[in-house]
Symmetry: C2
């Protein structure tokens, strides 16, 4: 079993009003050290495959076909093997 940790965020060229709103809220709460905010989606996929290569191929295909909007978003993923229980 492998765990794929997937992060989907907007491309840098896409304006993200939600991130701006979050940053403004932080400043209103006196967290004035916050210089920039990026927000996105996070997924953990438990994959029943035999190798890290298969897990990476699955994660990439799933991101392309389901999790990320290729027009506006980018994704990255890390794969690690889960300890046998």
């Amino acid at each position: 079993m492998f765990l794929a940790q997937v992060h989907v965020t907007y491309k840098p060229s896409i304006l993200d009003p939600q991130a701006v709103a979050i940053k403004n809220a932080m400043h209103r709460l006196n967290f004035t050290t916050v210089d920039a905010v990026t927000q996105g989606k996070y997924f953990e996929l438990t994959l029943d495959v035999d190798s890290a290569e298969q897990a990476q191929a699955q994660a990439e295909a799933i991101c392309d076909q389901l999790l990320a909007n290729p027009n506006m978003e980018t994704y990255r993923y890390d794969v690690k093997e889960l300890a046998q229980s």
Copy 2:
């Protein structure tokens, strides 16, 4: 400058219908190796502070006061120093 990478996910005891729907969609797309799905929010905060300790304290306070709903969600964060540009 420090970067705080924050992950906010539901507590394991909270039923997450959206994660169930995502898993079902994966199976419909023939990604049948997907055994479990967790989904959540991801934030990157650029913090203008002088030490990793300050960055961790800021990240923790921001999670407690703004980013996470303590009733239903848990959070974790990693802090790393950004290279001077």
